[in-house]
Amino acid sequence: MNTTEVNSSPNGDCASPLGGCPIPISDYKEIVLAHGSGGRISQQLLRRIILPQFSNELLAPQHDGAIFPIGGARVAFSTDSYVVNPLFFPGGDIGALAVHGTVNDLSMCGARPLYLSAGFILEEGLPMEDFWRIVQSMRKAAAAAGVQFVTGDTKVVDRGKADGIFINTSGIGLVPAGVNINPTRAQAGDAILLSGAIAVHGIAVMSVREGLEFETEIASDTAALNSLVESMLGVSKDIHVLRDPTRGGVTSALTEIAQTAGVSMHLEEAHIPIHEEVKGACEILGLDPLYVANEGKLIAIVAAEMAEPIMKVMRAHPLGSDTAIIGQVTSGSPGVVTMKTRIGGTRIVDVLSGEQLPRIC
């Protein structure tokens, strides 16, 4: 964690050597949507406001969850909140997402997910039928992932104070002996594997939200990844890093790992799997699929010699059939991810400031 950033006030870097910013955007005085985008503005919120208040060694690695010993066992603990709109979308709904998200965060710690909690914030007026469908979907998703809901809470707020329903899930799991998955372990020479085609979930949700109709319906890839991870750990317990590239997409996930581990990465654009219909939708909307959310994909960083055998079991698994090696960890500038473009140029791939905004033309 960067101590200068920790010590500066939220408005600390506003002063400009140019004699004051002529357009006083500077730091935000209110929360804006970009604070939830997973981009640089989200990171600022975390690093300046939240992390300094709770600083401790378990929080410091900024992993998908925390891993700590209790009575000889290594426990992984993670939490996530779900505010997706619309509540139902092709391929899933907020309930399935709330199960998969936390199961996947635990899986990315190398843990076997066991128990979940559910916190519901319901808006007055939410149709009971919708709530029933969501709870049914959570039951099915939990059963399929082999986890149990063991505690929960329900609150109702006035109409207009929430968007139908918000769900928080937390979960705990056990990390098997010999497994040490941590973003700091990415090292030069490692191979970067991606378990399938990118940007499916983000485009599926956006197409419903914006009322866009494509020739083929794009269904979310939302899925629990614990069984895929289990099969990978069956080949080798020495997987260095796992990450599910959700909000902010593949780019944000890889940049965060590169920054945490102090390594560089080099990707091959032509090797990154993407479905034709998703590519088409991204072209129409002016979005870069590398920044669009995934909910059923994982990135694995493994020693080069393990890449092939791990890829083999991933491809044999229904959730990893399109697995590809998309690049490698290198010893270049720490925190910098580069990519060979389709026409042979090289460019840097960086995190976005906030939400990707659809372009005018």
Partner: protein
């Protein structure tokens, strides 16, 4: 994907690059007019693949960037009204005005909505008869037909609660302004493919002749841009100055007559302020008198807002191709996408934002010697 993959082909790119290298004998400065072309050039690293003699400078064709501060202040004044639903293309939301941006106004409770098509605003207007629905109609000739259609339909359908805040700009007067500037370095242009889809390219022929510059109407994919560059370099080396069409799969000489006709019915040419550049005569569209009932500037009486632009940001020079983004002392330091000092840093198509997004504020990357193993099919 058809119409995409063949224009992002590495072997073909290398072939055209080889042809450019064989053709060029001395330095040339080319300007790509469109923000979409700038974005593609930086995204695919095209400028770094070209031989040193060919320099690409980035033009004024990002509609978000050139919308004047004054017009953005007018938009903000309207958007803050409690009786208004303000609709905009997505990338206008983060453009800083004198005080705030639309995202901040939204966080304070203004009803601001992103639309993909101006026609969507008519649906919103029908569904909210008690509100005034205002569309921020910005852009070049490319977006003019759809924006004109929204106003036309609102009048036809009798939707008194729909209006447009029109800030359209036109490419040919901007090209003239660049070529007449004493600071001009541009010797040839990659012309605006999508503008010409609507307008055709007849109106560029007098420009090419008067200023003796080649103008090659080009597409937006890497192969389009490389091919357009090759065609422009060939003309420069031969000493010719014609309008050529690299983008015939989309662009016809006469453009789209139906769209042009509608634009002519709804809009009339007017003087227009460009952000960072100043006023350019006859360089924009405004609504004709017949559509005054849908003219947001009149309805909300914001015509008197007159904002002077601060002088610190050099985006005006960037938009005219005189400076590159990284030549600004504030680039990547005081001026970032989180804290933009000027509009060229805000829009994804702005030259400064494209340079920043693709890491041009960082040391130049060297591709590692070893490349990853190709994934088996």
């Amino acid at each position: 994907m058809k119409y995409l993959d063949e224009y992002r082909n590495e072997a073909l790119a290398q072939q055209i690059l080889g042809e450019i290298r064989r053709t060029v004998t001395r330095p040339w400065v080319l300007m790509e007019v469109c923000g979409g072309q700038t974005h593609s050039i930086i995204k695919y690293g095209i400028d770094r693949l070209l031989p040193e003699e060919v320099e690409l400078v980035h033009g004024p064709g990002c509609p978000v960037c050139v919308t004047s501060l004054e017009m953005i202040d007018k938009a903000h004044a309207i958007a803050q009204r409690p009786d208004v639903i303000f609709c905009s293309f997505g990338d206008m939301l983060r453009v800083p005005g004198s005080q705030d941006d639309l995202l901040i106004l939204k966080s304070r409770g203004a009803d601001i909505r992103v639309v993909y098509s101006p026609i969507d605003c008519l649906k919103i207007a029908r569904a909210n008869p008690e509100k005034k629905v205002v569309f921020f109609a910005i852009g070049f000739e490319t977006t003019a037909p759809a924006n004109a259609m929204a106003v036309w339909q609102a009048q036809q359908q009798g939707l008194p609660n729909f209006s447009a805040l029109v800030s359209h700009v036109l490419v040919p007067p901007a090209i003239s302004a660049i070529l007449e500037s004493p600071l001009n370095r541009v010797q040839g242009f990659l012309g605006p493919g999508h503008v010409c889809t609507v307008m055709g390219y007849e109106e560029y022929e007098p420009l090419a002749a008067r200023y003796h510059v080649p103008i090659v109407v080009s597409g937006f994919e890497p192969i389009d841009i490389l091919e357009g560059t090759l065609m422009a370099v060939r003309q420069l080396e031969a000493g010719t100055a014609a309008v050529e069409n690299q983008y015939p799969r989309i662009v016809k000489r006469e453009g789209n007559p139906v769209a042009r006709d509608l634009v002519g019915k709804v809009f009339k040419v007017c003087d227009r302020k460009w952000r960072g550049v100043g006023s350019i005569p006859q360089s924009g569209y405004r609504l004709r008198e017949a559509f005054r009932a849908h003219d947001a500037e009149r309805i909300f009486k914001v015509e008197s807002i007159d904002t002077q632009e601060p002088s610190v940001c050099i985006s005006g020079l960037v938009l005219q191709g005189v400076k590159k983004p990284h030549q600004c002392p504030a680039f990547g330091k005081q001026c970032t996408p989180e804290h933009p000092l000027g509009a060229t840093m805000v829009s994804a198509e702005g030259a400064c934002a494209a340079y920043y997004a693709y890491g041009r504020h960082l040391p130049r990357p060297n591709a590692p010697q070893t490349t990853p193993e190709p994934a088996a099919a």
